[in-house]
């Protein structure tokens, strides 16, 4: 082919190669850890607020992969994460017991709320008793959108149904609708169907597509949602960055980290309440 054409082709290939390599090398030089956490935590915006503070202090970049609690713990089991940061105490304790994590530290809690349509077919709005509300929803056969995705939120929801003596499976196909997806999509569905839903306050506060939904029940002790952080066990996965990961765990439960958590607000509302034991 003509030499000018050959040169143009060569030039284009070089440019393309540099474009491709550039982002590769930039990443390779950075100190980082991988943290498996949940979609609701990430979508609350907490990490955007918290992680830059940690990175500034230690120079360690924190890469958060946000999944459901079940998936996040699974990531930890497979060794694809260095730290796990979720909110399902029972599952977390099992994780430690099975030897996948070093130690569990309590970090903070937020709360869940029950949202529902203004029309309130189950007549529970303004109540303070979540168990009672659950009974009323089942009795009225009012539509309820569940995450159904093995997440911490989903696990908490199922525990409430159990406590109230209702088997939600009895409503499958009629009033109990499982979306199999994250908090946001489930709220989207609830908003579209005018259904009740169980959500963490953080996601609710930043959720823009509310439709006719409002908070109907809040403040019940049973609605508190405890977060725990765990270093993935280097004995099981030798490649885990245990020093960097431990630095993160230590910071998050330190007074500095706890203060940073408390300082995070959406508007005037504090979302997370630090409660690490010292």
């Amino acid at each position: 082919m003509a030499s000018s054409r050959r040169n143009w082709l060569k030039g284009a290939m070089i440019a393309l190669t540099m474009l491709v390599l550039q982002q590769g090398t930039a990443l390779a030089q950075q100190k980082f850890i991988t943290v498996a956490s949940t979609t609701s935590t990430e979508q609350s915006g907490l990490f955007k607020h918290l992680l830059p503070l940690f990175e500034k202090k230690t120079g360690i970049q924190v890469r958060v992969v946000a999944l459901g609690t079940g998936q996040a713990l699974d990531m930890g089991r497979r060794g694809d994460a260095d730290v796990v940061f979720v909110h399902d105490k029972v599952a977390e304790e099992k994780f430690i017991a099975d030897g996948f994590g070093v130690q569990r530290f309590e970090v903070m809690y937020n709360d869940f709320v029950l949202v529902g349509p203004k029309a309130d077919p189950a007549k529970i709005a303004g109540g303070k008793d979540i168990v009672d509300a659950c009974k009323k929803i089942a009795a009225a056969g009012a539509p309820f959108a569940s995450r159904g995705d093995k997440s911490g939120t989903h696990a908490a929801e199922l525990r409430l149904w159990k406590t109230s003596g209702v088997d939600p499976a009895s409503g499958k196909g009629s009033w109990y609708r499982e979306t199999g997806s994250g908090m946001g999509p489930t709220l989207n569905t609830a908003s579209a169907m005018n259904a009740y839903a169980f959500t963490d306050r953080g996601t609710w506060l930043s959720f823009r597509n509310r439709g006719d939904l409002i908070i109907v029940v809040e403040g019940d002790q049973k609605l508190f949602n405890q977060y725990g952080v765990m270093l993935v066990n280097p004995a099981k996965h030798p490649h885990v960055k245990k020093d960097l990961g431990q630095a993160f765990v230590d910071w998050v439960i330190s007074p500095e980290g706890q203060q940073a958590i408390a300082a995070y607000k959406i508007g005037a509302d504090q979302l997370f309440f630090p409660n690490a034991k010292r």
């Binding site: 082919m1 393309l16 474009l19 491709v20 550039q22 982002q23 590769g24 990443l27 991988t34 979609t39 990430e42 979508q43 990490f47 955007k48 890469r63 958060v64 992969v65 946000a66 089991r77 497979r78 060794g79 694809d80 997806s181 994250g182 908090m183 946001g184 999509p185 709220l187 989207n188 908003s191 996601t203 930043s206 959720f207 823009r208 597509n209 509310r210 996965h237 490649h239």
Partner: protein, 234 residues
Amino acid sequence: MTDLGEAFAAAWALVAGLDSGLAGIVMLSLQVSLSAVLLATLIGLPLGAAIAVERFPGRQLLIVLLNALMGLPPVVVGLLIYLLLSRAGPLGSLGILFTPQAMIIAQTVLIVPIIAALSRQTIEDAWREYSEQLRSLGARRLSGAMTLIWDTRFSLLTIVLAGFGRAAAEVGAVMIVGGNIDGVTRVMTTTIALETSKGDLPLALGLGIVLIVLVILLNALAAVIREIAQRRYG
């Protein structure tokens, strides 16, 4: 329809404000998909050409398979690559899960069948026209195939662009193998998915519009190139 109106406003605000977050996301999207299409072309084009001109047992079966693989669901590819690259998997020691490299690999796997199958068709059609003359001049099959690759380059460009379009538009594969990590593996499609799930629909739509415009521009460029080529080379 106020959502749509807000979406256009959001899109315009993003682009006009030259939002640096957006710039980073667009850059990464381009890097990942362009790299994938480049790799896929390097693999798929010679593969398609070889299948087009060679005759071997099982050839028809291979062609059917290749055509079928064009419809690989991205999320399935993502899952398979995830299982390969996970620390618990065979290639875990590479440690490239949740990096753009993993995303490039997944998208390459997705696009190779498209490039191979479509270039196979193009080159086979050309071979039908040219093969006697090329063989008469003394070209062997594979050397003839290389000549035809250059000769059909403008049709092949359209195929490469189709591959790029598929890569740039998919979300299933890059979400699973990339993890949608803020600032590291977040691309246009995964951001749209994220914003949608957060209920921020105007922003998601706005990003969607930016993505569509990008793809339209690239295809317009391809059309112009083909037009010029047609006039110059016949």
